[in-house]
């Protein structure tokens, strides 16, 4: 039996960020448990993009604050390598009149929150990405401070910093149950050990719902397979991430030189499936040939899948639970947990330590979904 002041379930980017923030504020005996290898879940499977161009106020704020962290992350975390933060922007294409109008509203909202995005004509967009097919879109938005971070190395930076602060990590160990007596958490039981603890963080990504049910906490999220591919590396060809919600594509060249691109499957059902399909490869090849014909000349060398953990309004849940004290959740990122990780750790550590929360952060509470209340819905998602 191991005594723990807190057990964090999930060693992906969210769990790492929470662990680091708690340790930095002086908490001892933090244990992070993950059932697989380093970054085995959604973190290591994501598209490596970090953007601030959102359609809801909450997502904009979370993204902006996280970008501020990424800028200084190597230094803040004393990381000897490099997280590969690249700010060459996100170019988001509008392909319909409705999208064009919505994007004008998005840019106004983003600007009002301090995000330097702007609306571009086709000609202006072509100056930034000359190999775009000009017939494939009618206008665009661009934010030069959006960009890329390497998910593996960002995770390692948090991991090493947290380890230095005394956080204990247990990979290849699976949580099997959570013991609760009279609404007080007692133990977390894994396939290898028993942890005596009063506090639990659910940062289980694709399995957040199941880890919730272990404590009789109903979290309204589900997982969905999103496939992605990578090409061989090539010369510096494309600065920004190019993205279209209506054409269903995101595509960026990472500093390493390869291109990452993905799309969602409109027919995907809630499940933990993370397999690759030939249908994805066909559709992805068709879409990229249409929008970025130059990029379509590259060879695809690998495909994989990963879980989006979708919340009802496609905004994260960063929250405590009114019915179970000392149970905390960071989930429902709906495909964007990696880029929101810095602020996730900061906010959840504030909640756990009972610190004063900013007003906006209170809106991330799980109770916003109670009694079918209407919340802001995020449409800017591939």
């Amino acid at each position: 039996m191991i005594g723990a002041s807190i057990v964090i379930i999930g060693g992906g980017i969210s769990g790492l960020s929470v662990a680091y923030n708690l340790a930095k504020k002086g908490m001892k005996d933090i244990h992070v448990i993950d059932k697989g290898y380093f970054t085995n879940g959604a973190t290591g499977r994501c598209g490596a993009g970090v953007r601030q161009q959102w359609a809801t106020k909450l997502n904009c704020i979370l993204a902006r604050k996280s970008i501020e962290f990424f800028k200084e992350a190597n230094k803040t975390l004393n990381y000897k390598k490099d997280i590969e933060f690249k700010q060459r922007g996100y170019l988001i294409l509008a392909t319909t009149i409705e999208e064009d109008e919505q994007f004008s509203k998005n840019v106004s909202l983003q600007n009002s929150l301090g995000i330097p995005s702007e609306k571009l004509t086709v000609e202006e967009a072509l100056k930034i990405v000359p190999h775009l097919n000009p017939k494939s879109f009618i206008s665009a938005t661009f934010c030069p401070t959006d960009g890329h971070v390497n998910p593996f190395l960002m995770s390692e930076a948090y991991y090493l910093a947290a380890k230095d602060l005394g956080v204990n990590f247990h990979f290849y160990e699976e949580v099997k149950s959570i013991e609760i007596k009279e609404d007080i958490i007692q133990k977390v039981i894994t396939d290898k050990d028993i942890y005596k603890t009063k506090r639990v963080v659910n940062a289980a990504g694709g399995y957040a719902r199941e880890i919730g049910l272990m404590a009789n906490v109903e979290i309204p999220v589900y997982s969905e397979n999103h496939e992605i591919l990578v090409t061989e590396r090539t010369k510096d060809l494309q600065g920004p991430m190019v993205m279209s919600f209506s054409k269903n594509i995101y595509c960026q060249q990472v500093p390493h030189g390869s291109f990452l691109m993905g799309r969602s499957n409109p027919q995907a059902l809630p499940s933990h499936d993370i397999s690759s399909s030939w249908e994805f490869l066909d559709e992805m090849a068709l879409t990229v040939s249409d929008i970025l014909p130059e990029v379509a000349k590259l060879r695809v060398i690998r495909t994989w899948g990963g879980s989006y953990n979708n919340s009802p309004d496609r905004q994260p849940i960063i929250s405590d639970i009114s019915t179970l004290p000392n149970y905390y959740i960071a989930c429902g990122f709906s495909g964007h947990g990696f880029m929101f990780a810095p602020i996730t750790g900061e906010l959840l550590s504030q909640i756990i330590l009972g610190e004063q929360l900013d007003e906006y952060a209170k809106e991330l509470h799980i109770d916003r979904f109670k009694d079918n209340k209407t919340t802001d819905y995020e449409h800017s998602v591939v």
Binding site: H256, A285, S289, V295, A296, V300, R302
Partner: protein, 93 residues
């Protein structure tokens, strides 16, 4: 020969010294090494380095090679031009 001059993963230019350093840091599975060093992520998808890395992990952990799991094999078997996939789908190839 200097371990820095012995290239294990030719696609991603990873040396034997890099592998040993990561093993020392506690990354002792193929999946871990892949994510930290990019071994097996290049155009050949580990067809050259997998066996060599497996042997290094086995030596380090004092296991038989057969006891060391390789990383998950993912599609495709070989690199394919995206445009060709699109053309084939449209029936133009």
């Amino acid at each position: 020969m200097n371990k820095k001059d012995i290239i294990i993963c030719r696609c991603e230019d990873v040396s034997l010294a890099d592998i040993h350093e990561c093993l020392e840091q506690g990354y002792t599975t193929f999946e871990d090494l892949k994510r930290i060093l990019r071994v097996g992520m290049g155009p050949c998808q580990g067809q050259t380095c997998s066996q060599l890395i497996q042997a290094e992990i086995a030596k380090y952990l004092k296991l038989n090679k057969a006891e060391v799991a390789l990383s998950k094999t993912r599609p495709l078997i070989t690199g394919v031009v995206l445009e060709d996939i699109a053309k084939a789908k449209k029936g133009d190839l």
